[in-house]
């Protein structure tokens, strides 16, 4: 287990290094001058040069990248912004705040959104999938299958505004989506995030319904399930204790892969409902060509995905005793 973790973490670090380098070089390849953003309306060339120096942009690209890397460990000191304690991902070109702080600040929103949506996706998707599998071929199964096909075909940017329009504006059934810290008011946290959760999870839920159903059907045809039945286990036991375990393995795997997609979905969802999460931060960074922020968000996003994938692998070992973490 320890060996496994050490190797996986090392691998993850390499991946993150590659991603950061690619992103760094790629984004810096955009023909633009961020220094211009720090210069007044009527900008003197000397001022521009001063700003470039302040930002460390007068150095070769690989030196800049090196500074960026060391900043994460040791912190940096910018003339333009002041001190930036470790872990320093630089300062935003747009808001002039430390990138790391901004991300930490936004983290609870995105975490609430994705965790909540994951719960909806897994709970609802798996439950409906199991119901469908339990009632294979019966009307309930057909309804579940049909609605999951439609759900899987929907787009966040189509459903989001429509639901908001009808549920919030027209019918006023639920409050307008926003983020209330759970520490402040758990109830409001819940009610205000309901719509985003639903919208973000619609597409995924449908997929998990389909997947759970087909996995369950497949597992129910497995030999060991037949053995369980031959042992006199009741249908319920067979279904929930035996087949379920087997069906969960591919679902956990797919969920690990989906996390990246879910994060992408969170971007659109946050954008749709104006939630100040990391996704929204990212989109603004893109719009502003806010390189440090973009880089920071990309790295944090990638880190989240990589770490969660390790978690999924560990989880995998718990679900499937055949898998050994070595």
């Amino acid at each position: 287990m320890t060996g496994f973790l050490v190797r996986r973490v090392a691998g993850a670090l390499v991946i993150l290094l590659i991603i950061s380098a690619v992103t760094f070089y790629l984004f810096y390849a955009i023909p633009r001058d961020p220094a211009r953003a720090f210069c007044g309306k009527i900008c003197q060339p000397e001022t521009l040069a001063l700003i470039r120096h302040n930002l460390g942009m007068d150095e070769p690209l690989f030196v800049q990248y090196w500074h960026w890397l060391t900043g994460i460990v040791a912190g940096r000191d910018f003339v333009q912004f002041g001190e930036c304690p470790a872990p320093c991902l630089g300062y935003s070109f747009a808001t002039q705040e430390p990138v790391f702080g901004a991300i930490v600040d936004r983290f609870p929103v995105t975490l609430s959104l994705t965790v909540g949506a994951s719960v909806v996706i897994l709970a609802f998707g798996i439950v409906t999938g199991m119901i469908a599998a339990w009632k294979v071929g019966q009307p309930l199964d057909k309804i579940a299958s049909a609605s999951s096909v439609i759900g899987a075909s929907l787009q966040i940017y189509f459903v989001g505004p429509l639901l908001a329009f009808y549920l919030v504006d027209t019918l006023q059934l639920i409050p307008r989506p926003s983020y209330v810290p759970i520490t402040e008011s758990p109830v409001e946290w819940f009610t205000h995030l309901m719509l985003p959760w639903v919208v973000l999870s619609i597409i995924f839920t449908a997929n998990y319904t389909r997947m759970t159903r087909s996995q369950m059907v497949e597992q129910l045809a497995e030999d060991y399930v037949r053995t369980a039945r031959a042992k006199g286990m009741s249908n319920r036991t067979v279904f929930f204790r035996f087949a379920w375990r087997g069906a969960m393995i591919p679902i956990v795997t797919i969920f690990g892969v989906d996390l990246a997609v879910l994060l992408g979905g969170a971007i659109i969802t946050e954008q749709t409902f104006s939630l100040h999460g990391i996704g929204e931060l990212a989109v603004r960074a893109v719009q502003n060509t806010d390189l440090p922020m973009l880089l920071g968000v990309t790295i944090v996003g990638a880190t989240a995905i990589v770490v969660l994938n390790i978690v999924v692998d560990v989880l995998y070992a718990f679900i499937d005793p055949r898998v050994r973490l070595s």
Binding site: C39, G40, E46, A94, E280
Partner: protein, 598 residues
């Protein structure tokens, strides 16, 4: 302001912060008459100057500000907007949006006072009057009022003011205006930072004299008769030496105004509370009725419009500095008298226009043909009509600038949809009936559509149009290159203060052409350059106004730009608020007279 229209700025949210910072603040003058409740039909904003701008007296400068009828102190006012304030350190402020909020906690030597009549007066804010000069603008003297205090209760002294100017030379203060810096060093033609490096290494700037705690004297290196307008810019606001946290000051400025910042979470929220040490008797422009302000950021125009329309919960007590009614909801809002009662409307100091690169299109007839063929009406329709954009413009100067004169050299108001026949005639004169023009545009959804219309209209007139999309984040970098390969590209501007000098000189003085400079049409006509110099020396405001209007006409005769709009602002606020007014100087809602209805 370099945002094409609020629609583009707010909805597609693609303008780079850079562009926003560049956009500068709206120190334009003149009063687009605020039109509070305009009923269900839109009241047309006339193309006429409403420029009752004057310099106020010491009496005008004395506090307290005249009471707003019906206003009572107390309550919390909410503010929702798309963006957080990019800067709060006065030295780094150029953007109108930052200025609007700074007025709540940063005071300047002079400020604009909005008379109930709609007239605007430049009055002393920290100073007892709008400043005095006896040598045509080379030496300026200001005297501080009594009873001025920082938020910790310590007095605001002339040394603080001097220090506020000195620190503008520091290497990290690069975003704000640099008029004063350039004028306060011995040689205006050399980089000012080479001549003084700021106060942090202990050196003082000897061109600012503080004979006592109340008096401050500026010795400029030239005649600047409108220097008292210059120091009204938030960029020259007061910063205390004892509490200057350098870079950190940008997030937590030390208050000299009626409120202080109690918390500021970047991009999310900012909370203001009363500054008990602020004395209303010293302040001619601020009321400070609410006890608190809670500001929320990240609300797109679409959402803020919806929230104002819904008018529930705390949104009842909300206003917005900058967010306009989302273009797609304008129709709905205009049709709802109840909403119109809670709307704010007015002409901003911003003008927008299409630069014609005179370096590439040297034939004036081709330039005139472009203006003639231009589909102004179609563009306005695509952008959501007049209320979302502005009045179709025909001049360089905005009606909000002192001295503005209305004229329409190319008959655009008669044929706003474009006159292909006239354009063809002009092209025939030029000798090339089918010139190729490169139209570069900011690649945003609205701009793409506008491009379709422009291409169609110009093609009809015989042009061959190459449409060149530019990345919104690098748009200004691309068109800012002197040797750019584009012929027509959009731009916008607002004067830094309501005289013609900052409205015209940066854009059309041929001697200022440089990479990243703002003379995007690259116009370099000696007569115009000379006229600019002359106009700059006129000390009488009305005379100067006339001179600038004449230059305006000269520029339009050169067909250097296709004027687009005099921008309008149209915003909503919650039903629980009173005293929400349009600020024609900043071109957005003002927080100074706001109160919670009780």
């Amino acid at each position: 302001m370099r945002s094409h229209s609020r629609r583009i700025a707010s909805i597609t949210a693609v303008l780079a912060a850079g562009a926003l910072a560049l956009a500068g603040c709206a120190k334009g003058g003149g009063g687009g008459a605020p039109q509070g409740a305009a009923g269900t039909t839109q009241t047309p904003l006339e193309n006429k100057a409403v420029s009752a701008i004057s310099v106020g007296t010491a009496a005008d400068s004395a506090g307290p500000a005249p009471e707003v009828p019906g206003a009572k102190p107390g309550g919390t006012v909410y503010m929702i907007d798309r963006d957080d304030f990019s800067h709060l350190d006065p030295g780094r402020i150029y953007l109108n949006y930052n200025s609007s909020v700074s007025k709540l906690f940063t005071r300047t030597l002079t400020a604009y006072k909005h008379e109930p009549s709609g007239d605007i007066k430049l009055v002393g804010d920290l100073a007892t009057d709008a400043g005095t000069t006896e040598d045509g603008g080379k030496t300026w003297k200001f005297t501080l009022k009594d009873g001025l205090k920082w938020q910790d209760g310590s007095p605001i002294t002339s040394a603080d003011i001097k220090y506020s100017f000195e620190r503008l030379f520091a290497d990290f203060i690069t975003e704000g205006p640099d008029y004063a810096e350039t004028w306060l060093v011995p040689d205006p033609n050399k980089p000012f930072r080479d001549q003084y490096k700021g106060p942090y290494d202990g050196k003082e700037l000897d061109t600012i004299e503080t004979p006592d705690d109340k008096t401050i004297i500026f010795h400029l290196n030239g005649e600047h008769p409108d220097f008292n307008f210059t120091v009204a810019m938030t960029g020259y606001g007061a910063v205390p030496k004892a509490h200057d946290t350098k870079q950190k000051y940008d997030k937590q400025p030390f208050s000299s105004g009626p409120y202080k910042i109690v918390s500021h979470i970047t991009d999310k929220s900012m909370d203001l509370e009363r500054n008990e040490h602020w004395d209303p008797k010293t302040d001619p422009i601020r009321h400070a009725y609410p006890d608190k302000f809670h500001m929320e950021f990240g609300v797109q125009a679409q959402q803020s419009t919806e929230r104002f329309m819904a008018d529930t919960g705390n949104d009842k007590y909300a206003f917005t500095f900058h967010n306009a009614v989302a273009a797609e909801r304008v129709q709905e809002v205009l049709g709802n008298p109840e909403l119109m009662k809670r709307s704010v409307q007015g002409l901003t100091p911003f003008t927008t226009f299409y630069n014609i690169n005179t370096k590439r299109i040297t034939d004036i007839n081709v330039r005139k043909a472009i203006i003639a063929a231009w589909p102004s009406k179609q563009i306005q329709q695509i952008s959501g009509g007049e209320i979302n954009t502005g009045k179709i413009a025909t001049t360089v100067l905005s009606p909000t600038v002192l001295g503005y004169e209305a004229f329409d050299l190319y008959g655009k108001l008669a044929k706003p949809e474009g006159d292909p026949e006239e354009a063809k005639r002009l092209l025939a004169q030029s000798g090339n009936p089918n010139p190729t023009v490169v139209y570069a545009y900011n690649q945003t959804p609205t701009q793409e559509k506008i491009t379709v219309a422009i291409k169609e209209a110009l093609t009809k007139a015989g042009f061959k149009v190459v449409a060149k999309p530019l990345n919104p984040t690098t748009y200004y970098d691309a068109i800012g290159v002197v040797d750019n390969k584009y012929d027509i590209y959009w731009g916008g501007w607002a004067a830094d203060w309501p005289t013609g000098s900052t409205a015209i000189q940066p854009l059309f003085d041929g001697r200022l052409i440089a990479d990243n400079a703002s003379n995007y049409s690259h116009l370099n006509v000696p007569e115009i350059n000379e006229a600019i110099d002359k106009a700059n020396e006129i000390t009488d405001a009305a005379e100067a106004g006339k001179a600038w209007a004449a230059i305006d006409r000269m520029i339009m005769e050169q067909a250097a730009i296709v004027p687009e709009y005099y921008q309008t602002y149209f915003g909503l606020y919650g039903s629980g608020l009173g005293g929400v007014k349009f600020d024609p100087i900043e071109g957005e809602q003002s927080a100074l007279d706001i109160y919670v209805k009780q």
